[in-house]
Amino acid sequence: MLELRVRHRFRGFALDVELATEGPVLGVFGPSASGKTTLLHALAGLLRPQQARIAMRGRELCVRPGGRWLPPEARQLALVTQDPLLFPHRSVRGNLAFAPGAAQRLASEAGRRVLEVLRVEPLLERGVDHLSGGERQRVALGRALLAGPELLLLDEPTSSLDAELSREVLGLLLRVKRELGVPMVFITHRAAELLALADDCAVLDAGRLVAQGPPVEVLKRPRALGVANLVGVDNLLRLPVLAHDEPGGVTLLDLGSGLRLAAPLCDALPGARVDVGFYADEVLLCLEPPAGLSARNALPCEVRAVDVLGHEVLAELRLGEIRVRARLTPLAARELGLAAGTRAVAVVKTAGIHHLG
């Protein structure tokens, strides 16, 4: 779908990235100052890279030096930024109808569908100063979609919003992907967004591409990729569904070696693989199997490694066939006498496990 090779140096920073993706949604992941936004601006045509070849479905947008250069307005790639950047002198309707042809699209069946998915219909006649943060981002998304882009460019669209609104906007982006079928390139530094939305993921660090692949694969090896601090020490797992216990409100997932993880009920078919995540803080360690426990998961495990990182300890555990991290204080690690080879029981609350995607 998209091929790009971009080299650009400025003020002590060098971006040098080459990648091709079939999408339909490419997530670009990396720490701040890794070159994510520069890459997106090169794609949008807002930056002229010193050397580049960018092609979208075989159509060349930019070949430099000396080749074709399509200005941003001819690229059909609508940009949505962290700050919604609505035009303050126009109403919501005026913003939505801004792009060439958007007024007609707005009146068409497809346009009504966009308004419905984004729930902006009731806002149409409002001025933009009286919208909430989430409403503004919805209007910005609508404005971009009504430009009829071949590809939507999203520059951290949720990072200026609080957790609840981020989830809402992420949900909308998922609907845009599934129901409107618009391909996207989106920048994020949140692992959960990558897992939920992206089909393909490119990890940038210091201006270079350090990894590319399906998000679950990429995020499984965060330390090797130097993105551990971004992913956090969350546990991100893709596991097969064994069975559902509807009255009990849990879905049992296969950890291998006869162990099962009780996750919140989901609707995936038995045998299908689902992505789940939980924070390392959600994992408790006991040396003896606890009795009378409300948590649904008390799983025998073996400590593989103990890392001391400042004032916290990360224990890497083997649970069945998979690895999970637990975060605890140095005091707890000392009292339990944790070391590689220690056998223990890992306790995880079902409610602490989140379905991703």
Partner: protein, 225 residues
């Protein structure tokens, strides 16, 4: 009450200033935009040239204009070919002098107003499919409009008071180039001119104050936008 001749002076002043602003508006918007958005080492030089009439003695500006527009100069000959006359000592000369002297105020106000427009709004507009000119007309200009109007009002007020360049380039021809400041200067040399001076002064103060208040009101609107 001002006499008929004095009214003629006031009306000529108002007309000259209005024409001067009207003629400088389009180039002023273009230059203000260029000076705000053009990233080039030559920009500082261009800005210096545009600002020059603000710091030069107006009489020197007038002399430079006379020099450039003189009968034997290319610009003067082009004017002659176009109109069949000479520019010096005409109402047109008055308008040119007033426009040149007011121009820096207009350009500076527009430059600041354009600088106040978030560039990212322009980038979003481009990525939504609007070209550079289209983006200027639909985003940059509407958002800097209060600043543009404030600059127009300010340069209008400056044009009303123009004396130095006018007296050199346009002289003191009743009904043609005798604007309020020139008329006041003339009356200063006339016995019993004081009453006329006072009347013209009152009109001047009223016009200038109205223009300034208008300009303040417009810049306050820009800040709120």
């Amino acid at each position: 009450m001002p006499s008929e001749a004095e009214w003629e002076v006031v009306l000529l002043s108002v007309r000259v200033a209005a024409l001067a602003v009207a003629a400088s508006l389009l180039p002023g918007i273009l230059l203000g935009w260029l000076l705000a958005r053009w990233q080039h080492p030559l920009r500082a030089l261009l800005q210096g040239v545009v600002m020059l009439p603000l710091v030069l003695p107006p009489v020197v500006t007038g002399y430079l204009l006379l020099f450039l527009l003189g009968r034997s100069r290319p610009l003067g000959r082009a004017w002659h070919a176009l109109t069949g006359g000479y520019i010096a000592y005409t109402t047109a000369a008055c308008v040119i002098a007033a426009a040149v002297v007011g121009f820096p105020l207009l350009v500076e106000a527009i430059r600041l107003a354009v600088l106040g427009v978030d560039r990212r709004l322009e980038q979003v507009s481009r990525s939504l499919g609007r070209g550079a000119l289209d983006t200027f007309a639909r985003v940059t200009l509407p958002l800097s409009l209060p600043g543009v109007l404030a600059g127009a009002v300010l340069s209008y007020a400056r044009a009303l008071g123009e004396f130095g360049a006018t007296i050199v380039l346009a002289g003191n021809v009743a009904g043609e180039t005798r604007t309020i400041p020139v008329a006041v200067y003339t009356l200063l040399n006339v016995r019993d001119g004081e009453a006329g001076i006072l009347r013209l002064t009152a009109v001047s103060v009223a016009l200038a104050l109205a223009a300034l208040l208008g300009s303040f009101w417009l810049s306050a609107r820009q800040r709120r936008a």
